[in-house]
């Protein structure tokens, strides 16, 4: 009986040490949790001016199939100093990250923002198309 107990204990200890040494791979390079979600889309978009008040003339039109965001801004909007805000599907993240004000004044060259799914396997580039009212 004692010998069986010792064997079981040894196996448990070995199993425990094996799992404890396993590399933690549930967090991505930004320290964000990698989940099992594959949803990958933009659900809402906002554009704020330097005074943190919206500069949109109308709600942004988000096409999740064509992967475009069309937004028209008010006359006189200073697009060199704006703060874009994306609302994404659960667990998604955005690339490039928005860390502060952005210069989106080059209307001829639409900016691309890539949405990355929660499982980090799906990447969808969205084209941000801005035009004046």
């Amino acid at each position: 009986m004692t010998i069986y107990f010792k064997i079981i204990l040894t196996v448990l200890l070995l199993t425990g040490s094996f799992f404890s040494c396993e590399k933690d791979s549930f967090v991505d390079e930004d320290g964000l949790l990698i989940t099992f979600r594959s949803e990958c889309f933009v659900s809402n978009f906002e554009l704020l001016g330097a005074d943190f008040v919206t500069v949109r003339a109308a709600p942004a039109v988000i096409d999740t199939v064509a992967q475009t965001i069309d937004v028209s801004v008010l006359f006189g909007t200073d697009l060199k100093n704006v703060y874009p805000q994306f609302t994404l599907a659960t667990d998604c993240k955005l690339d490039p990250k928005i860390t502060g004000k952005m210069d989106l004044s080059n209307l001829a060259d639409s900016k691309i923002f890539t949405v990355v799914s929660g499982n980090r396997l799906v990447r969808k580039p969205y084209k941000l198309i801005i035009k004046y009212q």
Binding site: G49, A50, V53, L74, F75, G76, K80, N81, Q133
Partner: protein, 328 residues
């Protein structure tokens, strides 16, 4: 045996500890004040700005058996501006929260080349709280100012209380300037004044902004636009000759400075805000302004920065603005 002795001593120790722990601390009656004494507090919060008052409440008392109050005075390290005075009325707050004045002497006199304000008591009293209003003079900008409050009693004693030093802001303030579309529309940050087209033409190097109102497009409404801005932001405006400065502007919303907003709200713009605001790549126009909004301003020569607050707007094409200006 050893174990039993240990138990006994442990029990005695616990009993002694609990006995000490339960000992009542004897209350000691505070010593009554037996001499002339005083205290002071600063009632004004926010930055100390030239032309605005700093208010203090100076309290003084002497036991009745010792005598009565004879005089009270304040000495400032920098003479106060016009309007500086020590109240000749003592205030108490009634049950409704209203400050009720009681006259204790004649209005204060200014002595020592404007440095001191003095009130001589004309009533027989042994306690009073006097307000002191120090108007920050222009020459104090960027310096520190301190105050010495003192009181004399009939028994020949003097008590004094030092306050400060307090930093005086480098900002200048101008409140409630009315601008109107097409007439008094030209704003000078240097002069902190509004001009019409004729006056502006005489001082083109001093005009930093033009106020205009346009109902269309609907996002335009009230605007502050520098003369050097694109013509699309100055629709229908014929600038007086020589106006060409390109002033940087940054719109702000929700920054209702208490001084500019005529003592509403509880926000203050201070020197550090004007020196640290990032004006890089800011445009030379600000349109779509509304009441309680504001703009940070940096003049073309980078000599001044200012914060212009919109007190009120009128849809007929006028607005009331106030400004704080900082010399860089």
């Amino acid at each position: 045996m050893l174990y039993r002795n240990f138990n006994f001593f442990f029990l005695v120790w616990v009993l002694l500890t609990s006995l000490t722990a339960c000992q009542e601390e004897e209350y000691i009656l505070p010593e009554p004040i037996s001499q002339l004494t005083n205290d002071c507090l600063k009632r004004t919060i926010g930055p100390s700005i030239a032309s605005l008052p700093i208010e203090f409440a100076y309290a003084m008392a002497i036991p009745k058996s010792q005598g009565k109050l004879v005089s009270a005075q304040v000495e400032a390290s920098i003479p106060g501006g016009t309007g500086t005075y020590l109240e000749h009325r003592s205030y108490y707050t009634n049950s409704g929260g209203v400050d009720i004045p009681v006259t204790i002497g004649s209005p204060s006199t200014v002595v020592d080349a404007g440095k001191s304000s003095k009130v001589t008591f004309t009533v027989d009293t042994n306690a009073a709280t006097l307000r002191y209003y120090y108007i920050v003079p222009d020459e104090a900008k960027g310096q520190t100012v301190s105050f010495t409050f003192s009181v004399n009693s009939s028994d020949g004693k003097t008590a004094s209380y030092k306050m400060g030093p307090y930093n005086i802001s480098k900002m200048s303030i101008k409140k409630n300037l009315t601008v109107s579309n097409g007439t008094n529309a030209f704003i000078s940050i240097e002069d902190m004044a509004i001009y019409n087209a004729t006056s502006a033409a005489a001082i083109p190097d001093k005009v930093d902004l033009v106020y205009l109102y346009r109902a269309s497009p609907t996002s335009f409404t009230h605007g502050l636009v520098s003369p050097g801005a694109d013509a699309s932001f100055l629709p229908g405006v014929t600038l007086p000759s020589g106006l060409k400065k390109s002033t940087k502007l940054r719109k702000v919303f929700g920054l209702q400075d208490r001084n500019l907003a005529n003592l509403q709200f509880g926000i203050y713009v201070d020197d550090i805000d004007l020196t640290s605001v990032d004006m890089t790549d800011m445009p030379n126009y600000a349109i779509g302004l509304r009441a309680e909004a504001g703009v940070w301003v940096e003049t073309a020569d980078k000599k001044y920065r200012a914060y212009i607050y919109i007190n009120s707007v009128n849809a007929t094409g006028s607005a009331v603005i106030s400004m704080l200006r900082y010399t860089l």
